[in-house]
């Protein structure tokens, strides 16, 4: 019943072989490119490795939600990591200087693109912020069975 919320490290190890650093400039793509990035595609995923420059749980930058500015070897990348509540529910903190690996891919938003994270990993802990279709994982998915059971009494 309870959806998976924490990913194992194994898939990340596999993806790390494909480690790829996306430069910030690559986020600005032509409209024809954005039309190819309209939906999440696991085969397009890349892994960003870098240090947290800034974590903003409620960024004014679209898309709405939490963003992390990541310093990679190729430059800084702004990454959308969904709802900060999900990280909090998983006791997952991001602070400046933290080394992280982020699995995700660029997605279109209007005429521009943004980097959408699916998995955020710091040390041995990884949190899936999107599911395999690319939809944001809701914080409710981090509930314990007891918390899920409590919902059965809602009116």
């Amino acid at each position: 019943m309870k959806p998976k919320t924490r990913t194992t490290v194994a898939p990340l190890m596999l993806l790390s072989a494909l480690a790829f650093c996306l430069c910030a400039a690559a986020q600005q793509t032509a409209p024809s490119s954005t039309q190819r990035l309209q939906s999440y595609d696991l085969s397009r995923e890349v892994s960003l490795v870098g240090a947290v420059v800034k974590f903003d749980p409620a960024s004014a930058t679209p898309p709405m939600g939490a963003h992390v500015l990541l310093q990679t070897s190729s430059g800084q990348v702004d990454v959308h990591i969904g709802n900060a509540q999900l990280l909090k529910a998983n006791h997952f903190e991001l602070n400046p200087g933290d080394s992280v690996r982020i699995v995700g891919e660029p997605l279109a938003l209007g005429d521009a693109t943004y980097f959408a994270a699916r998995i955020v990993q710091k040390g041995a802990q990884a949190v899936a912020v999107r599911n395999s279709k690319g939809f944001l994982t809701t914080p409710a998915s981090a509930m314990s069975q007891a918390q899920v059971d409590a919902l059965r009494g809602v009116r």
């Binding site: 019943m1 959806p3 409209p31 039309q35 190819r36 309209q38 939906s39 999440y40 595609d41 903003d56 749980p57 409620a58 004014a60 679209p62 898309p63 709405m64 939600g65 939490a66 969904g82 709802n83 900060a84 509540q85 999900l86 909090k88 529910a89 997605l107 938003l109 209007g110 005429d111 521009a112 959408a116 999107r130 599911n131 395999s132 279709k133 690319g134 939809f135 944001l136 809701t138 914080p139 409710a140 981090a142 509930m143 918390q147 899920v148 409590a150 919902l151 059965r152 009494g153 809602v154 009116r155």
Partner: protein, 542 residues
């Protein structure tokens, strides 16, 4: 209890931080108008859709309700029942409303509704704010429950039921439906889901039907399997409740009358499954007989999710002359990225089937991005609409979103006919800053007088801006509407601006598409200020 109190105090600080961005204090006007408790008398079918948390230790969960309550015209709710389903599909046994429940109605039509029920063997109350939109008691409703048992918010409405229609045989003829929510995929999902279509029913049997489904972006369109409508032997005669199987999925339903039935997913007790809810509206005989007969100006509003789960609204208008579309305008808010589209082209209604009322239209923007919608007309005045804009993957949409499309009438819209007292409701997502920053549900229900295109009224706003609920009651509400001209004869072809000023908050900028003097669709369009993705309606109080 102590834990919740601590949480509430933290959230209260958050509200202050996120909303005291320079807006002036606004005193709510004294309630004035024609309403009182006698206007709510009879049996009413209600629905709400929003979020709930129990214990509120982690986060809120999507939830929908549908049910029926009996108002005595004197401030008492004497009974009723309702169904609840949450994301993931858990449902409870039908919930009975205790006879000691109550309601209030102020002169301006605003009021409260308190349903006393039992949860896990203990008494509790579910609280709502209401605004009457007619003297027969129809109205809009917002969930304002905030107690030790649960916190929940969400928006919906209630409609006077015809108790004489409380039998399955009442559901007869063709019905257009729009069920929306989440699928029952508990392995990788749940994913947002939208079902629109048309079915024919007689004597408890759904004989034929055609459905368009968007389940987590996956599109499917085709004939429906036969289904059933069965009376609830305990609650049909008093509440109009029954159970249904439609396209293999189980629902509870509440009969309003022969023209409207309200559905909600009903899964195995405490099991899993979809969370879907919506209305089926009887299809009138006056729907256009062919594509050439579709003529007029239409406003539309859809809400849902983009391909990555970001909140999405599209609000706009178009003029149909047979298969040709013109004067298309659309405002999109995708994940708080708000874009007004003024140069839409190649507008076409590519198909229309008068036997089902189903059609499909599309247009494209200046970057050749194509927007496509399926619609089902329930009358010549409009129907339901589903966004099926294609992605680069076959049979997969770019978004999951649905809503309404309505014929515009009564233009030109001026300060003379956009005037009177209106109920105002919006629902969606908001992001609040602070130490517990998050993005979550926001619902607002208010009543406002519009005079000389200025707003003056009172609103309730509830936000899940942290793991707990932030209630804000009786907010002074002001604002202004700016008409953008037009050609004098048909300025329904123009978008309208509306600034909503909530006491102590920065103005919230909305784009409005007027359907007629009694109804308007709107969505927020401001790229600055507190990020939010909300859409709603203004509805004249009659």
């Amino acid at each position: 209890m102590k834990r919740l109190l601590v949480a509430f105090s933290v959230v209260a600080a958050l509200w202050s931080a996120s909303c005291s961005s320079g807006g002036p204090a606004i005193q709510p006007p004294p309630p004035a108008g024609k309403f009182d408790v006698t206007n709510l008398k009879g049996t009413y079918a209600f629905t709400t859709s929003g979020e709930v948390c129990a214990g509120c230790q982690v986060a809120a969960t999507p939830m929908a309700r549908a049910g029926s309550f009996v108002a005595d015209g004197k401030g008492g709710i004497t009974g009723g029942v309702y169904d609840v389903v949450i994301q993931g599909g858990a449902t409870s046994a039908v919930i009975s409303i205790n006879s000691n429940s109550s309601y209030t109605v102020n002169a301006d039509g605003r009021g409260t509704l308190t349903l006393n029920v039992t949860s896990n063997g203990a008494p509790t109350s579910i609280n709502f704010g209401i605004v009457l939109t007619s003297t027969s008691g129809d109205g809009l409703i917002i969930d304002e429950t905030n107690n030790v048992t649960q916190a929940s918010t969400g928006s919906g409405n209630f409609v006077l039921q015809s108790t004489a229609a409380f039998q399955v045989s009442t559901i007869s003829g063709s019905y257009v439906f729009d069920f929306t929510g989440f699928d029952g995929n508990v392995v990788n999902g749940p994913f947002p889901e939208s079902l629109v279509g048309q079915f024919a029913a007689a004597n408890g049997v759904i004989t034929t039907g055609f459905e368009d489904a968007n389940d987590g972006l996956g599109l499917a369109s085709g004939s429906m399997a036969p289904g059933s409508l069965t009376a609830d032997p305990v609650n049909m005669s008093t509440s109009g409740r029954g159970t249904a199987v439609i396209e293999g999925q189980s629902y509870a339903f509440y009969i309003v009358d022969s023209t409207r039935v309200r559905f909600i997913s009903s899964n195995t007790l405490n099991g899993s499954g979809p969370m879907l809810a919506g209305d089926a509206v009887q299809q009138q005989a006056n729907i256009p007989l062919n594509l050439a007969a579709i003529n007029g100006s239409f406003a539309f509003l859809v809400g849902g999710s983009d391909s990555a789960g970001n909140g999405l609204t599209r609000v706009g208008r178009l003029t149909a002359t047979g298969s040709a579309l013109s004067k298309m305008l659309m405002d999109v808010n995708d994940g708080s990225n708000e874009v007004p589209f003024n140069s839409l082209s190649n507008g076409t209604i590519s198909s229309y089937d008068p036997t089902t009322g189903r059609g499909q239209f599309s247009f494209q923007d200046s970057n050749a991005q194509v927007y496509t919608f399926v619609f089902y007309l329930s009358s010549q005045n409009g129907g339901v609409i589903q966004d099926v804009s294609p992605s680069n993957v076959a049979n997969q949409a770019r978004v999951v979103a649905d809503g309404s499309i309505n014929l515009q009438s009564g233009s030109p819209f001026t300060s003379s006919n956009i005037s009177g007292t209106y109920a105002m409701n919006w629902s969606g997502l908001v992001t609040a800053g602070g130490n517990i920053a998050s993005t979550d549900e926001e619902d607002l229900l208010g009543q406002t007088t519009i005079s000389n295109l200025s707003l003056s009224g009172t609103s309730d706003m509830f936000q899940f801006t942290s793991p707990t609920l932030t209630p804000n009651l009786n907010i002074g509400t002001a604002g202004s509407i700016t008409l953008n001209g037009g050609d004098g004869a048909s300025d329904d072809t123009k978008r309208v601006d509306m600034n909503v000023n909530l006491s102590g908050s920065a103005p919230i900028d909305m784009v409005v598409y007027v359907v007629n003097s009694k109804l308007a669709f709107f969505a927020n369009r401001d790229n600055s200020g507190t990020p939010r993705i909300v859409a709603g309606i203004l509805k004249l109080q009659q």
